[in-house]
């Protein structure tokens, strides 16, 4: 009879939910897969960097249900995200938009890569002091030495 108290404890500790629950899943597989894709870009507002699909928090369950509700009401993906960011703020979007200063975030990688490649090209085209090639005698002496170290 240990099962009952443990189950009670479990219900107490685990709280309402762990990640996506069977009762949340929509009957329409197309809508459901859109919901899952949207869930990946929505951040659980109270956890440490989890998306709402992976999160056990009850607010994430609310958000998951909200996403599905909007999808069933016929919203487009963008409209669902707008609806949620209007209410929960920019913070819940895992992929920051590319407006304003956020452009820096998106462009810094390609920009620095281009500058570095350009810099590298200039560096290689720069005139450098020519290093004199070895004379035939030096070359022969070198080969002799190399043979010795190999043996």
């Amino acid at each position: 009879m240990r099962l009952l108290p443990t189950l009670g404890l479990l219900a107490l500790l685990a709280g309402p939910a762990a990640a996506v629950q069977p009762d949340e899943i929509l009957d329409d597989p197309a809508l459901e897969s859109r919901a899952r894709e949207l869930s990946k870009v929505l951040r659980c507002p109270v956890c440490q960097g989890e998306n709402i699909d992976d999160s056990n928090a009850s607010v994430s369950r609310d958000l998951r249900l909200l996403v599905r509700e909007r999808l069933k009401a016929g919203d487009s993906d963008g409209a669902v995200l707008d609806y949620i960011t209007d209410r929960y703020g920019e913070y819940v979007l895992f992929e920051p938009d590319n407006r304003g200063a956020n452009l820096v975030l998106w462009l810094i990688g390609p920009a620095v890569a281009l500058v570095a490649l350009g810099g590298g090209l200039l560096y290689m085209r720069r005139k450098r002091p020519e290093v004199a090639d070895l004379t035939p005698e030096e070359e022969a002496a070198l080969q002799e030495l190399l043979k010795k170290t190999d043996a």
Binding site: R2, L9, A11, Q21, E90, P96, A101, W106, G109, M124
Partner: protein, 652 residues
């Protein structure tokens, strides 16, 4: 008693570290041999003292001495011994102690094995290593004393976070720290070289094995962490682009760049000042990582505010070392004369491209990681940067890297003839395209991820093999006489390819079923029939568990019986999910038991994860490649040859 001894030894180590950082440095500047010679015994003594201190703390954990506050906060008498020991570094204070222990170990290693180094360079390297040690010992002693006592010892402790009670995570921090701290050697060598004003092939021959070892440890540490996330967190995610993960990934990328550019310095005496800069930045990012993890500033602004002294202390250390080293760099880098010249198409320029791609991708990760902080502080916008951003912004660089890698790896030094290389690589290219086509048709055009990843992965792996084969000139016997560095390169590069395939196919093809099932009921996932046979309550050493018995079958033939669990650790009042995984070469079956449902039955999750093990096999191959390369006799012969030369020959 032992705790006080440990504390005392730590204070002594602090004193020794200060002496170690000052006296040999002055000795090297003035040419006083006696002062320089102090470096070796000081490094050994510092390591010994910290080891005593670490042993004292470990003893307190093993004997569950709850009069020590840290033990009370992180341990419990019922905890298995493995986790009592790993509990030493499963918390802030203890992990910092492990950090300085490993730092002192590297400093001592330079003292013990650095006999072949020029005396002045060695004294300077050990002094700088001592300086890093002194600042972190000060940090521990003044802000995070692990030996603080409780006036009235409680009867039992508060237990370690159950998520950390796992073999994968027990060894994750030590490996990660070996990697982070291993990069301090490259840093110390770089700063010493800047002070000396001299970088040559011998210098690179020393820096490269240390960097390679650090990179191998980082690879293992990161792979262990991601493997742990895969089986422990309950849905099989393996990488989340979390700030703490990024903190370990940035030094990994830069260390990878550094160990490639050190090759150019060693073989061709070019890219010297860039290699110095990379050495500084790689360790700088290790310190940034330590700051991010230890201050908690990015995961949550609040945890930083709760104890700002720690975060600010590390920030000051970071500013001192990175700022100081960069200032020195600005002043002295001009003295590093590159001697090797190379043409546009050559191994050197291919490695330059490698370095640009790795460094820029590290920059993308860095900017993405700190952007929320910048946006909040400067623009007042509270926003998040997560996995979807990193996947889009980071992946393109890796794709370019993978396309170019097999070609660049085969180009000749100085001036290459691409025609020959392309002839050898024609077979790998055809194979890669064929496999990509196969992935495309199997995946029935679901997404481009699978064929691209398979094509690139195969291109990397077969390209590495073709490179190895081409070095034998058609005689198979020569294969086993190739130097360790060649083998290491081939194994590590093909490991990257294997990891590419694993990541791509797992991401593109995984299947998932979430549903309520009654005991005895079956359901289908990707051609397998999964049955929930029973659910039992099981008592563990320090937890109770709800354990399901599930079998899965294909065409009526039972493949395996799995026991997913849901555990509750009463002391921490925390549930954990223990997924049950049947790993096979081509796919994992991943089962999770959820909560009992009100109308009867249990919530169950089942995942089919194709090629999951390829990810960690690939990481393992990369680490193995690094190890093989470390065994290259050229690294040892070069070091030993000069030691023999330095020793005066006795008269007969």
């Amino acid at each position: 008693m032992f705790a006080e001894l440990g504390h005392f030894a730590l204070i002594l180590a602090f004193g020794v570290a200060i002496v170690q950082s000052v006296v040999p440095q002055i000795g090297a500047a003035r040419g006083w041999r006696g002062w320089m010679a102090l470096a070796q015994p000081a490094a050994t003594a510092q390591f010994g003292l910290i080891a005593i201190s670490f042993a004292a703390l470990t003893w307190a954990f093993m004997t569950s001495d709850f009069s020590v506050k840290l033990v009370w906060e992180n341990s419990h008498t019922d905890k298995p011994m493995l986790y009592k020991v790993s509990g030493v570094w499963g918390n802030h204070e203890g992990s910092m102690l492990l950090w300085v222990l490993i730092l002192a170990l590297f400093g001592a290693a330079a003292a013990w094995f650095g006999g072949a180094l020029p005396a002045r360079l060695r004294a300077r390297v050990i002094a700088i290593q001592g300086m890093i040690g002194a600042t972190f010992l000060g940090f521990i002693l003044f802000t995070s004393n692990p030996f603080a006592r409780l006036a009235t010892p409680p009867f039992n402790g508060q237990d370690l976070n159950p998520l950390l009670q796992d073999p994968g995570l027990a060894f994750h921090p030590p490996f990660l720290y070996l990697g982070y701290v291993g990069l301090s050697m490259a840093f110390s060598f770089a700063v010493a070289a800047l002070i000396e004003g001299r970088v040559d092939a011998a210098w690179a021959r020393w820096v490269r094995p240390w960097t390679l070892a650090a990179w191998v440890f980082l690879t293992i540490g990161i792979a262990l962490g991601s493997w742990w996330a895969y089986y422990e967190l309950g849905w099989g995610g393996f990488w989340f682009w979390d700030p703490v993960e990024n903190a370990s990934f940035m030094p990994w990328l830069l260390a990878a760049a550094l160990l490639h550019s050190a090759i150019v310095v060693e073989k061709r005496e070019a890219l010297k000042s860039w290699t110095i800069l990379l050495s500084i930045m790689a360790f700088g990012f290790s310190l940034i990582g330590t700051f991010i993890v230890r201050s908690g500033v990015i995961t949550s602004v609040h945890s930083f505010a709760s104890d700002p002294s720690r975060g600010i202390f590390i920030l000051v250390i970071l500013a001192f070392f990175v700022g100081g080293a960069l200032t020195l760099y600005a002043a002295r880098a001009g003295a590093m004369q590159a001697r090797g010249v190379f043409s546009m198409v050559s191994r050197e320029s291919a490695l330059v491209v490698n370095n640009i791609l790795l460094a820029v991708s590290a920059l993308v990760v860095f900017v993405g990681t700190i952007w929320p902080l910048v946006a909040e502080a400067a623009l007042g916008r509270k926003l998040s940067v997560g996995a979807p951003f990193f996947e889009k912004a980071f992946t393109p660089f890796m794709i370019v890297l993978a396309v170019m890698l097999p070609i660049g790896a085969m180009l000749a030094w100085k001036r290459a003839h691409p025609g020959r290389v392309l002839k050898v690589l024609a077979v790998p290219a055809v194979l890669a395209l064929a496999l990509a086509g196969l992935a495309w048709s199997v995946g029935t055009g679901r997404s481009l991820v699978a064929p691209v990843a398979v094509g690139l992965g195969a291109w990397l792996a077969f390209g590495a093999l073709a490179d190895l084969a081409s070095r034998t000139n058609g005689r198979a016997g020569r294969l086993f006489r190739l130097p360790g560095a060649d083998w290491g390169k081939a194994v590590a590069h093909s490991g990257l390819g294997v990891a590419f395939i694993g990541i791509g196919l797992l991401t593109a093809w995984q299947q998932e079923v979430i549903k309520v099932v009654d005991i005895g009921e079956s359901f289908e996932i990707g051609g397998y029939t999964v049955t929930l046979d029973a659910v039992d309550q099981v008592q563990g050493p320090n937890y109770t568990s709800t354990r399901a018995t599930m079998t899965y079958a294909r065409d009526g033939v039972v493949q395996a019986t799995l026991y997913p669990e849901k555990r509750i650790y009463p002391v921490q009042a925390m549930p954990t999910t223990e997924a049950a995984i049947d790993s096979r070469p081509l796919r994992d079956v991943y089962l999770v038991i959820g909560d009992p449902q009100e109308g009867g039955g249990w919530a169950v999750r089942a995942y089919l994860k194709p090629f999951a093990m390829w990810i960690w096999t690939g990481c393992g191959l990369m680490a193995l490649g690094g190890l093989i390369s470390l065994t290259d006799r050229r690294l040892r012969v070069a070091a030993g040859a000069r030691r023999a030369a330095a020793r005066p020959q006795p008269a007969e």
